[in-house]
């Protein structure tokens, strides 16, 4: 007997994937200058593997946590509000979860990118193939490292999805 369906998580995660892939493609193309096709493919693979890794970690860690943490997790999953929280105070567990997920996302994406570069050998940053068309090429940010690019795209994605979730919880009545 099933009581719950997971349609919202599918919708929200697809939304996250679309936004993250868009930012990643844009920044890989602009900052790393790898060409459109490679940028799109790398953005797609990195983001999908990022989400899959977090799911795996969730399934591994969930049976191990204490009951109080489990109750907090349930409140977050089912009701999207902190558990036993006095109004006005920030739940530190949620805050640290957010920090860990953000830092972990950058780490996973960077590791995945290095792995793919080693395996596929088709990703070579710094080849400006726009110049072929005779256009002047300028990256938006002067610092064009791979790690910085991934950090930037994660930041922008988190901000975008944060704005969307904030809008969803506004009372429109």
């Amino acid at each position: 007997m099933f009581y719950l369906i997971i349609l919202p998580v599918i919708i929200w995660q697809s939304l996250y994937l679309i936004i993250a892939m868009a930012w990643d493609t844009f920044l890989f193309y602009q900052q790393l200058r790898v060409g459109r096709k490679i940028a799109i493919e790398y953005a797609r693979t990195l983001n999908l593997f990022n989400i899959v890794t977090w799911w795996m970690l969730f399934f591994i860690i969930r049976p191990l946590i204490s009951q109080l943490r489990e109750l907090k997790l349930i409140n977050l999953l089912f009701f999207s509000r902190p558990f036993d929280q006095e109004s006005g105070s920030l739940d530190m567990d949620l805050f640290w979860l957010f920090v860990i997920v953000s830092v972990g996302t950058v780490t996973i994406k960077f590791t995945m990118m290095r792995t793919l570069q080693t395996l596929l050998q088709n990703f070579s940053p710094g080849i400006p193939n726009i110049i072929k068309k005779g256009m002047e090429y300028k990256p938006i940010f002067t610092f064009t490292g791979e790690l910085f690019t991934i950090f930037l795209s994660t930041l922008l994605t988190n901000m975008s999805i944060g704005i969307l979730i904030f809008l969803r919880f506004l009372p429109f009545s």
Partner: protein
Amino acid sequence: MQTITDFLRKKSLDSWKGLEKSIKPPIIFSYQTLILLSIYSLLLGLLTTGFTNRAIIACGWMFFLLGTAWSLNEKPIRIGSFLLNFWIMAVLICIFVFGYILEDLFQPELWVTLPLVVMLIMTINEFTNPKLQFQIPNVVICQKLFTQLAIHLLISCWMQFFIVVNDIIESYPVLVREDFGNSVFVNKLPFLPAPKSRGEVALESVVTVVKERLDNQSWQTIESLLEPTNREQWIGEIWQRFLPANPNTLPINSNTKENSLWEFTTSAIPENNGYLLALITEWQGPRAGAGKVSFVSNCEIRRAIEPFTEPFRKPSTELPIEPFVEPFIEPFVEPFMNNSTNSVVPEGTSPSKIECLSIEEVRRNL
């Protein structure tokens, strides 16, 4: 007569030849041979029992799977540009593994396994050439394979999440009644009836038992039973007995984690002519709103004035020795009666009467 027999023989021979032509494989090394072998195994399996039967039919399944894979390889099935081969094979393999080997087809793990099997078949297909030799595909196909792997893993993870949330609901069945409208992860199926929460059902049983226990007792018994420490103990024991065994919340199993999260308290307030007993159970766990939910049952215990109490009163004032003999004829022979030092106990002789209101749900804001 001869002609009719000849005609029939000729007809049957013709039909047999037609059948033979349609099922006989064109060459011996082809997928039709494998399909025929699987049918042959099935027929053999019908004649046997026990382990032999299972082994032969398993062989038949193997032949069937190999034959289907081969035939799909020769004649691919497509919807638009989407190739269905791998999915058909994965579904067949899952039916074989879950339905035949594990003998339980419709379990949720099937949906976790299916995308992974599809991915496995796809990878094997890309890493072998038509002569079934190992080869490393080129970079473009590798890139495609990585993306496919990630997508199938993601679908598997979603299915696993579905199983996990439903496991959580089985551990905390009270949550089914809550409002899931705010959640960005799950939704409740709208057409399912919300069952009564366990706390409420357990409280109903406790009220019935408490009613039986307190009804028609002497007033001294009542006062002794309602004394705070004593009361918490014996009503708490009844509560602990009823909370786990809870047939009304089926199909949810009774031994769940949520039992420790129901806080049970009682209070007894003396009224003008008796007591007001409140049995309260409060949910301490996760909830949708800000307030805490509790279920309250109010019971009123009064002294009943019945005619057979009158004869006790008269001798108690006139002859002090008589009442000590008389009460022991009554069924309630409890230890505290022996300890009571009161010589004159007119209240102790009148039996109690208990009335309980129906259980109400109270939402207390913090």
